[in-house]
Amino acid sequence: METSSFIHPAIGFLALAAVLPFLRGKWWNWLLPAPAVLAVFAVFTMTPGDHLTLNWLGQTLLLGRVDKLSLVFAQVFAVMSVAGMLYAMHVKDRGQHIAAALYVSGGFGCVFAGDYLTLFVFWELMSIGSTFLVLLNRTRESVLAGFRYFLYHTAGGLLLLAGLLIRYKALGTWEFTPMAPGSAHLYEWLILAGFCVNAAVVPLHAWLPDAYPRGTVTGSVFMCAYTTKTAVYVLARGFAGWEILAAAGTVMAVYGVLYACIENNARRILSYHIVSQVGYMVAGIGVGTAMTLNGAVAHAYAHILYKGLLFMGTGCLLYAAGTAKLDKLGGLAARLPWVMVLYMVAALSISGMPVFNGFISKTMTITGAAEAHQTLVALGLEIAAVGTFISVGIKLPYFAFWGGKPTDNDRVLAPIPWNMYAGMSVLAVLCILQGVAPSILYAYLPFEVEHPYVPWSVWHVLQSLLLLGFSGLAFYLLRKVITPHEGLNLDVDIAYRAVGTGALRFVCRPLAFLDDRWTEAYRTGGLRGLMGIALGSVWFDRRAIDGVVDGSARTVRGIGGLGARTQNGSLQDYLGLAAFFALCVFGLVWYLG
């Protein structure tokens, strides 16, 4: 018996956001994972098809398009939300939870959107939710970063809006369908640009390393999962096979790890890594064969899990030690051993070490690219793999937990609450599970391939171990060179910061100044002119007409004088006089009419 079932996973989160400000008592934190659990339930019970059509402004909106592609993303979003909410349970600031809930519901909304209007609405919801996750860190740095983040994402959203409006005019439909690769329509480029902003495609990526390290401890965990992966989803849905994405993805993959090698802030290293890992996905989408698309999706799934865990681990460091800067950390392995272990699970996953889930997902994309004869792409992605292991797999944990320093028993560490460990454990278990039993992930991949990808072959394992082992050796040999130092590495954001401050300094402030002067022009030019005419009239009246009609001129002056005397500043008199005059005029008119 086929019953159609669809509960939109966003509902629980929207309800949480609405209800949170009003909850009283000590136990409200326990409510936080509830919508996440509900979302998991919803995802596993929903049936494919089109659900939840809505009529709005005369347009038909589709809120619940369920097929394998949206289902797999929704599934990992749901799983991640459980871990994330668990991890964030200890936070007392309700604003952060509300922001996270809105953000996550935006993610679900985008994944299930069947038309561009719905997509846009949830896209903007995600944008504002994540902005607050940065702002609510409440330091000057974070507030400024949040402002820049918001403006940037609004601009990206407007590109998307322009694109979808022009598309509506061209095609007459809002439907979110794939676009043929190789098209040259303006609206397709605009929509692509809007998506690429969220996907952090180089050179539109600078918002990521700017904002994510400055978000709250728990907020960045959410952010690393949803914004970019939603962008990956929409790219997979709409732009599969667009070759420019293959090139862009490869560039992203390498660019990200290059910066990660020289960064000092642990969360910024991870942020650049997001750029790199998403590059794998974007490249896979760009190549566009079934295997690479599957690889991109599998990678997205695995990435959410291990990247979330990575941010959780460094979040714990930030929480306990008060800083995420590698040059200030070190010697903590013995004091935070479980954080280190859980972090390493994620680190090895991201590097593609066998037994962990990165191994079963990353290599699929690379193999697929090679099989499609995209040699440069495959090469670039392998280079990025080396860099990934070096920077995130070894450099970060090495300098955070050891750093060549003895165990730091003097540093005061804030005790890490149990729920943070719980959240991390959930993700770590899944990383390992997927790594040893890849079919639990592969079962959900949406595209059918000619021959299934088998990751656990002797060669694949050997190749991975070789690559990683010798990259590790490279690190060991250069461990004194790669030591992180404090400093800001310039990135492309110098360009758009310049635009922002430039616009303010050279356009807005001068315009405001000019407008004030122009306003004064009324007083100097207009009013004086008017007064000049008035005085001229008075002179004319006195000299010219007076000379001709003596008595009437004086009479006019006399009435004017009388008028002046009634200007005694008394308001009641003014009103009374006005009413009296109005009545007189009205009566006169009526009488004459």
Binding site: A333, M340, G387, L462, L466, Y476, L477, L488
Partner: protein, 85 residues
């Protein structure tokens, strides 16, 4: 410091032994590579044994050296360069 922490602390002293173990594993892997190869080489070159080992080592070294020694000195600024902090 709990049990795991104490264990890790002890391993610091055994640093040398761990390093030797690493070298050993790497050597074994290269040896295996002589016998096990890809059935479908990606680049042609990677059919040769030791390719991936060399690739990992060379790319890793080049990446770190170029980025840390060449690129970073050019693009690095003070932490507070933009006046954010």
């Amino acid at each position: 410091m709990n049990g795991l922490g104490a264990f890790l602390e002890r391993q610091r002293e055994l640093r040398g032994a761990w390093l030797k173990a690493l070298y050993g594993v790497l050597a074994v892997l290269v040896l295996l590579n002589l016998f096990v190869g890809p059935h479908e080489p990606h680049f042609g070159l990677d059919a040769y044994p030791g390719f991936w080992a060399l690739f990992g080592l060379v790319v890793g070294v080049l990446m770190v050296v170029i980025m840390k020694r060449v690129v970073q000195p050019v693009i690095v600024r003070r932490e507070d360069h933009y006046g954010d902090i």
